[in-house]
Subunit: 110 residues, 4 copies
Amino acid sequence: MLSDVTSEQVTAALRTFIAERDWEQFHTPENLAKSIAIEAGELLEEFQWAPEFDADRVRLELADVLTYCYELADRLGVDPEAAILEKLEITRRKYPVEVSRGRSAKYDRL
Amino acid sequence: MLSDVTSEQVTAALRTFIAERDWEQFHTPENLAKSIAIEAGELLEEFQWAPEFDADRVRLELADVLTYCYELADRLGVDPEAAILEKLEITRRKYPVEVSRGRSAKYDRL
Amino acid sequence: MLSDVTSEQVTAALRTFIAERDWEQFHTPENLAKSIAIEAGELLEEFQWAPEFDADRVRLELADVLTYCYELADRLGVDPEAAILEKLEITRRKYPVEVSRGRSAKYDRL
Amino acid sequence: MLSDVTSEQVTAALRTFIAERDWEQFHTPENLAKSIAIEAGELLEEFQWAPEFDADRVRLELADVLTYCYELADRLGVDPEAAILEKLEITRRKYPVEVSRGRSAKYDRL
């Protein structure tokens, strides 16, 4: 079952893929940040003219964004899921339940 | 140790955060795709004028992209890491080692 | 000579193109903002792995970004070039010559 | 009246602004492409959670995208409006009226 996979195993698989192709030279943090933005644009294209979407296409585009995110996390020496949880604590404090409930306003306009 | 965290646990933490604030109404797949692109832009801003970067700032911006990616994966009923591995198999076939080694060209220009 | 073209003429050409295809229904401000981000990603792809670029390809990708920008300006009832000059005055005040000369720092870190 | 402004005058104003601050060194084509994507993300943020928008905020964010687009056009030695019209001819051929009328499908799926 794939859901048993750990971040370490995914990162190891990505490292092997990159190393086999000698692509470390291209995958600098700056180029990975560009790649994340490029792939985020392709994901958004699935929703360009309507909110309806093709789940298979969206899943594969999302995977491209995630792949470059995991690679960048690896360059930073960071566990991706630990980074999510670290940031969630910060966001929790910026958006206390009592003031943000049911409101989409940005914290500096709450 | 945070690296023992599973995707399921991260997803559960994000669900609780969203539910407490009654934000499911805003976090549609389309709005999450927009949010991923927006956060990808903020991450890229850390590299706007030079390849040098502040690792702490980059980690926190990357976490924002990852957070919305995990939320979108949850809306799709997909494990994020399984999606990365599924796509890696496809990419592996599009970029065979022998033709892509040391080259950054897109597969349709290899 | 194309450089004699005015914003009004470009906007009129775009309006005709859209109306002939009955596309006004899709080109809402929100969808145009998504389209600008999508095309900005395609433009960035020309620079994904290296600063070197193909001028012809970049020109055509840049044109796509500009096209949706002009359409959005038209929806807002704004002249695109007037908007640039309006914003330039604001930016001029945020980045006084004496403090910003030769520095790429954002105004809030100057 | 601002609508009498020409692309050349806007480009000249941007050149002066950049030269006064000695910013040509930062505004390489690659960095301008990144900047366009970054500002496109900020524009999209105005539509993050709903299609409703604040016209003043959108106009100013759109101006930022346009500004970097005009700068990149200048680096390429291209008139921005000529580029729009050049691309419009190409797009016209990819989307003939008879097959694209009232449909938002991409040309390769028409």
